[in-house]
């Protein structure tokens, strides 16, 4: 009988266990702030087109751009960097002006790029937004982008390079506050 009781006690002990202290409130401290990267826009204007347009502004256009306004993005973005790459293979100096517009078409921010005539190096520029750069409100409120290209040269010369054009490439890298 004693042996049976002993075994029952062992059984009861076995079903009684211990655990180190757990703190499930730590979950509140878990942060998820990933960085996402993708291309934004690519614009190419050929020299033949530039030569056909009289006047300085050979190209001005407003483009709808709702990506930054999407609630998932606008409510979570913490910081970001827009990377621009400008390549000019035309025979004329060119200025590119990028304006960020809100829904009322107010200009929130402007980026100006000046390029010498070819041959010239590719211009690369990173523009930061957030704590170490421009205001994030610019990004969050941007609804349209106005692109203006200004020919600072003539309308007759032609570059000897293949397929001469002014090309604007861009990408964005943003940090989001998922949690």
């Amino acid at each position: 009988m004693v042996r049976i009781l002993t075994l029952i006690m062992v059984g009861l002990l076995l079903v009684t266990s211990c655990s180190e202290e757990q703190d499930f409130d730590q979950l509140d401290d878990l942060t998820i702030t990933p960085d996402y990267e993708t291309s934004i826009f690519y614009v190419k204007a050929q020299e033949t087109l530039i030569n056909r347009v009289e006047g300085l502004d050979f190209f001005t256009q407003d483009f709808n751009f709702d990506a930054f306004e999407e609630p998932f993005f606008a409510e979570r973005v913490l910081a970001g960097v827009l990377t621009y790459e400008l390549e000019n293979t035309t025979s004329k100096p060119i200025e590119i002006r990028l304006e960020f517009l809100d829904e009322a078409e107010n200009v929130l921010d402007t980026e100006v790029f000046s390029m010498d005539a070819a041959p010239t190096a590719i211009l690369q520029r990173d523009v930061a937004y957030g704590a170490t750069g421009k205001s994030l409100d610019i990004i969050k409120a941007t609804s349209e982008i106005r692109l203006t290209a200004i020919n600072l040269g003539d309308n007759t010369s032609e570059s000897t390079l293949q397929d001469p054009a002014i090309v604007l490439r861009s990408s964005a890298q943003f940090t989001l506050d998922i949690r």
């Binding site: 042996r3 049976i4 075994l7 029952i8 059984g11 076995l14 079903v15 009684t16 266990s17 211990c18 655990s19 180190e20 202290e21 757990q22 703190d23 499930f24 730590q26 979950l27 401290d29 878990l30 942060t31 998820i32 990933p34 960085d35 996402y36 990267e37 993708t38 291309s39 934004i40 826009f41 690519y42 614009v43 190419k44 204007a45 050929q46 033949t48 087109l49 190209f59 256009q61 483009f63 709808n64 751009f65 709702d66 990506a67 990377t83 790459e85 490439r169 861009s170 990408s171 890298q173 940090t175 989001l176 998922i178």
Partner: protein, 479 residues
Amino acid sequence: MRLCQCFFIAGVLLTLSLKAQNKQILYDFNEIPQSLSVNPGVESDFKWYAGVPMLSGISGYGGSNAISINDIFANDGIDINIKFRERALDVLTPKDELSTTIQMEYLSGGFRSENPNIFYSFGGYLEFDNIGYWPQDYAYLLFDGNADQLGRRYDLGDLKVRGSLVNVFHFGINKRIDRNLTLGARGKLYSAIADYSSSTNNGHLSNVEGQNNLIATNLNADLQLRTSGLRSLRDANNDDALGNEIISRALFGGDLGLGVDLGFTYHLSERTTVTGSLLDVGFIYHSGDSKSYSLKGNTSVEGIEIDVLENFASLDRDFWQELVDEIEEVVPFETDTKGYVSFRPTKLYASIRNDFGEPVGNGGSQNCDCTAGSSGGGELRTKYRNSFGGQLYMINRPRGPQMALTGFYTRRIGNALAFKGTYTVDKFSKTNIGLGMNLQAGPVNFYVMADNLLSYNNIAATNYASFQLGFNIISWGRK
């Protein structure tokens, strides 16, 4: 600081997180009526038995082969972000499993036919089963994002998850064919309350150097999530009628299915026995409240691309919306409400057992209504004080079968008490020692079993744990 907690609370905590459905202690522990549930062909000697409603069989499992609750939530002063990265994000792989099974038997009984060689059993239980694998690349995308990862392919096939909440009714027949062979079969009727499955995903996401722009984002997706019952439960919850909806769907108001369990026991010699069973060979057809979501297609995006010369006459177009529309056209996100079939996680058990030592009681054939091992009819084989042997367990899982090997030793002390100790090796643990106890006090039967006992000094640090307990009333009949 250490907190002593009872086993039940620890078990519940574990099942909240993380499993395997192996019932290696209960298997072939034929003093316990519920051993019929893992082998309908087990040798039984009861005249009849009745499980105490809601208490005849409760079991829970929590398991992950690579991470424990303690790894993340221990109150150790380390930043949870560091722990999560070092112990989960940078360690776990898509082969690592996170799963839970909870089973609650609410009705259980059995009775012997006028033919003493035939025993009928019946019952019902609720089963919640969830299995998932660590979605490694999704986790990296969520926690780190895809920045500065040119050329890296994120595998969208890493997402594999399946789960269900099912009410199961069953009726089984156990027949002693002759002195050496006992066969059993059990039919099952499934009434599914909820089901979800996303286990056939394929594809990848990557950023590479663009042809025109700086980056090209490539998406190749073949993703699907199938659900059933979730909308009904959500709507009922909004109407404060969740309980009624669960009961309704559990009692044939949900999706229905059929299944079968098969099993046998065969004596190779007087003291050597082999057994085997195949459980949950079945399916459920989901049709009443099914909804499936899919994302399928290929695309490569370099942002808004404007060639001024080509588009000179139509520069007023909404290029952004065109880009969005184009992506949605080639990689459509679609939903449908077509029915679908899900298959139950089929399990296989097999064992070989050798008995030794003195016979239990009067040669295993008692003449009272108070002890295990007596006969409800027919000629019974002698039970011995000791048994040892090996068991094999396999279960069908989304990434292929999982297997466990168990060595066991059973000790019977008189007719009232029996213990079974097990050592199991599987993907969850190499140090899994389990112990089961069956106590027969007159007609009252109580059993309790738990495994991975070595981890119980810190239950939160274990990768795997399970428990099972139950009460029954058993009669062997009077001669």
